[in-house]
């Protein structure tokens, strides 16, 4: 994402420092991660110190400071999925990708995140790959799903 794109988002929000988080969310939404240059531009334009932006970018779960992998994997670890065995699903995903939640593998193939609730508890335990929901899974089925993505 280039500086122009970032400026456009900032202007859309009126250059108001109070809308900092909304601005960052939008950059994250379009670019899928927050490059350092983007943060610096936002800091400069909104006149918000980098220290604060650094904190916000690491505080909220929606933000990523590294590029995401080609396949974004979300494992629901909400209470309902948890009592239905989500941690074993997460294990299967970790085994397959070799990474922990919040990480992206070295080949940028997978990014793995846990989420608190996806609103489809009836399908739990479940995982979502690139927006597609795979529900009512056993750990073995979860491994099968992951294999489809390489």
């Amino acid at each position: 994402m280039d500086i122009k794109g970032i400026d456009k988002i900032i202007e859309k929000h009126g250059g108001v420092a109070g809308l900092l988080i909304q601005v960052l969310l939008e950059i994250q939404g379009e670019n899928h991660w927050l490059p350092k240059e983007a943060l610096e531009r936002v800091s400069e334009r909104l006149r918000v110190p980098m220290s604060r932006i650094q904190h916000i970018a690491t505080f909220y779960k929606a933000f990523s400071l590294v590029p995401k992998g080609r396949h974004e994997v979300h494992v629901c670890t909400g209470t309902s999925c948890h009592v239905r065995g989500a941690s074993r699903i997460l294990d299967a995903v970790k085994d397959h990708t070799g990474i922990e939640p919040g990480e992206t593998d070295v080949d940028s193939k997978f990014s793995v995140e846990t989420v608190n609730c996806l609103g489809c508890c009836a399908l739990g335990p479940l995982l979502v790959v690139n927006g597609k929901t795979h529900g009512r899974l056993s750990p073995a089925e979860a491994s099968e799903v992951m294999k489809k993505y390489g």
Partner: protein, 200 residues
């Protein structure tokens, strides 16, 4: 500004409106421990070691002395079994991170805190935020800030700003109740300065 009268540890204490219970107590020579408080900074209320019992018109609660505004008729108790237990536990929890901090050790002996109660986890920083807030509020440089959240929260320098500002300032160093800040700063220098051949 008006003058109000409150009771601290059974003593009548006069204080100016707008003062905190901590300031009123110290003015009267009553000591309350603090870790995250500094006279030049806004109350931050995070170390929680200054908790006291406050009775406002029959409504009792624990509150942080460093933030609680004085009011006419407040009744404050700075020590009780419960308060001492809280302070002792907080000290023990923090000593796991900074076992050699002089300030923590001094309070520890007062409150009977066991330095070895919890497994050592020497991050040295106790997240009091003195350096962060001093740099932001007094120096207005924002060279250092917090990152992350929950149990992963820690301080972090902004390399570009630190490189420019810190060498000539270092005013936050003596504020640190541990010695972590020094270490962190050196680390940033090491990370951002052009690579130098290692000395044998």
């Amino acid at each position: 500004m008006g003058i109000v009268t409150l009771t601290i540890d059974n003593r009548e204490v006069k204080a100016e409106e707008g003062m905190t219970v901590l300031e009123a107590a110290r003015g009267a020579g009553i000591e309350i421990p603090t870790l995250c408080w500094h006279e030049k900074l806004k109350p931050y209320t995070v170390c929680r070691i200054c908790v006291v019992d406050v009775d406002a018109r029959g409504w009792t609660s624990l509150d942080t002395a460093c933030s609680r505004p004085v009011k006419e008729g407040l009744v404050v108790r700075t020590r009780s079994a419960k308060i001492d237990r809280i302070r002792k536990t907080i000290l023990e929890l923090l000593l796991a991170h900074a076992p050699d901090s002089p300030k923590l050790r001094e309070y520890a002996s007062e409150y009977g805190a066991d330095r070895d109660r919890f497994e050592k986890d020497p991050s040295f920083c106790i997240d009091c935020g003195l350096c962060v807030r001093y740099c932001a509020e007094v120096k207005k440089k924002n060279a250092v800030g917090f990152v992350d959240r929950g149990i992963r929260r820690e301080i972090c320098f902004v390399p570009e700003v630190a490189l420019r500002e810190c060498n000539g300032c270092k005013e936050c160093f003596p504020l640190c109740p541990t010695s972590y800040l020094q270490a962190a700063f050196v680390l940033v220098q090491a990370l951002t300065a052009p690579a130098q051949p290692e000395k044998p």
